[in-house]
């Protein structure tokens, strides 16, 4: 099963930002979204994750097979790293968190409360959460923010492992992760054209 | 003129408050209506000229 997006148009705050986007994400593939700030990368990812409805178009994806990671990691600062991760593992009904801790090099920090982690360490915890979801399609919004070079390499390795296990990732990022098989999709051509000025009529105010 | 008797104050107060409230609502509605209409027309003119 692939993730297919057909002729998708999306809006941010009621204003159309992207129009007629089509893409296919096959198992074992990585697709990187590029485009200037404000083009709608986050909105596109949120729409595919099902957090907001599209203006038009269809999203075909295997139900309950998507994991989304946005700007915020959903980490509770009073809980320890293990507790944070184990919570998500239980929510997603998967068991073991040890591999995720190991993959993101968090084992040494396992019992530290999350508020004592640095920004990069928190980010790594957020990415470790993806590993415990057990889901195939990862939707990642700027996953490498506040990660140092070593951590980026760590993350790239996790993504590659995920791809080789039949997973797939769709991510918005500016950093070259060194994943050879990654395709790049530039969103600039899909920018929604501002329709002609004031073509009368009140309908379009509600489009 | 109608004879209101000892309750004149009461009746007149009730009518007075009602008229005040209704007129206030009408005035607010019309004022905001006119303001939004003017703003919209100005915006449409500007965009027709520039666009």
């Amino acid at each position: 099963m692939d993730l297919t997006v057909t002729d998708l148009s999306i809006a941010r705050g009621g204003i159309p930002v992207l129009g007629h986007v089509s893409l296919t994400l096959r198992s074992g593939c990585a697709l990187v979204l590029r485009g200037p700030n404000g083009i709608g990368k986050t909105t596109l990812l949120r729409t595919i994750a099902g957090l907001q409805p599209p203006l038009s178009g269809t999203i075909g994806l295997p139900s309950e097979d998507v994991a989304y990671a946005g700007h915020a990691d959903g980490i509770k600062s009073t809980l320890s790293v293990t507790e944070n991760l184990r919570f998500w593992a239980r929510i997603f009904g998967t068991g073991d968190i040890a591999p995720a801790l190991a993959a993101m090099d968090l084992a040494a920090l396992a019992e530290r409360p999350a508020h004592s982690l640095s920004a990069g360490q928190k980010r790594r915890l957020g990415l470790a959460r993806l590993l415990v979801t057990g889901r195939r399609f990862w939707l990642l919004d700027e996953p490498t923010v506040s990660l140092d070079a070593a951590s980026v390499a760590l993350f790239a390795r996790a993504v590659r492992t995920h791809l080789s296990n039949g997973g797939a990732t769709l991510m918005a990022t500016h950093i070259d992760l060194g994943i050879a098989e990654a395709e790049v999709l530039d969103l600039t051509p899909f920018r929604a054209a501002p329709s002609a000025a004031a073509p009368g009529g009140f309908d379009e105010a509600f489009a | 003129m109608v004879e209101l008797g000892k309750y004149a104050g009461t009746v007149l107060a009730a009518y007075g408050i009602t008229i005040l409230l209704v007129l206030g609502l009408v005035a607010i509605s019309l004022r905001r209506g006119a303001r939004v209409k003017r703003a919209l027309e100005a915006q449409e003119r500007r965009m027709a000229k520039n666009g």
Partner: protein, 218 residues
């Protein structure tokens, strides 16, 4: 669901805030009343049912905005919305967690405060019973209000304005149940109404709250 409930309870215990704060607030409100109305036992005993119910209601209100706001800010709600648990279950569970950390302690503490207000002996069992039956409705209604205002920067005051009118029936039946208990009148009707409101809220409001959260997330 158990995982979510346990996490919420752990968070409430670790942060300390909501849990103890509501109880302390309840205590202070109850202590302030005699200073306002005078120390005469008869007067206090007569208004005690109402004061205790209003106090419990306000104490409950105090911690409502924490139900979803923290999870919204740190992105947990986004992730929860894409998790396999339906949002309806999430809202119901979080309301339950709120009740366990607020409504239940208030219910247990109320008799002690009843002593301070000279509540007649006959009223104690009814006070505990009516609070036990009624406070779940307060938590559920409050969760709905919190879901409506979760995306707002300063939603706290608005939340009170939205939720308090919805609390009126619960307050009326709850306080009336205690009053009737004190006067030795039959309490079946208000108690059943209270139970009805609680069951109805728990049955319907998780859906309304989940719908509101979906709207707020997009």
């Amino acid at each position: 669901m158990t995982a979510l409930l346990l996490r919420d309870l752990t968070l409430a215990l670790r942060a300390g805030g909501g849990f103890g704060l509501s109880l302390a607030f309840f205590l202070i409100v109850t202590v302030l009343v005699p200073f306002g109305v005078g120390p005469e036992g008869g007067v206090l005993g007569r208004i005690a049912p109402g004061i205790l119910w209003v106090g419990a209601l306000l104490a409950c209100l105090l911690s409502l905005d924490r139900i979803f706001a923290l999870d919204y800010e740190d992105g947990t709600l986004d992730l929860m919305a894409t998790a396999p648990i339906p949002l309806e279950t999430v809202t119901a569970t979080k309301a339950l967690a709120h009740w366990l950390t607020t409504g239940l302690p208030l219910t247990l503490a109320a008799p002690a405060l009843g002593v301070l207000l000279n509540l007649p002996t006959a009223g104690f069992s009814w006070l505990t019973l009516s609070l036990a039956v009624g406070t779940p409705a307060l938590s559920m209604i409050g969760a709905f209000g919190a879901a409506l205002t979760v995306g707002l920067k300063r939603g706290g005051l608005l939340l009170s304005l939205l939720v308090l009118p919805l609390y009126i029936p619960t307050l009326i039946f709850g306080a009336d149940c205690v009053r009737r208990g004190v006067e030795g009148l039959p309490t079946t009707t208000p108690l059943l109404m209270l139970l009805g409101i609680t069951l109805g809220s728990v049955a319907i409001l998780p859906f309304a709250a989940a719908a509101a959260i979906r709207v707020n997330l997009r």
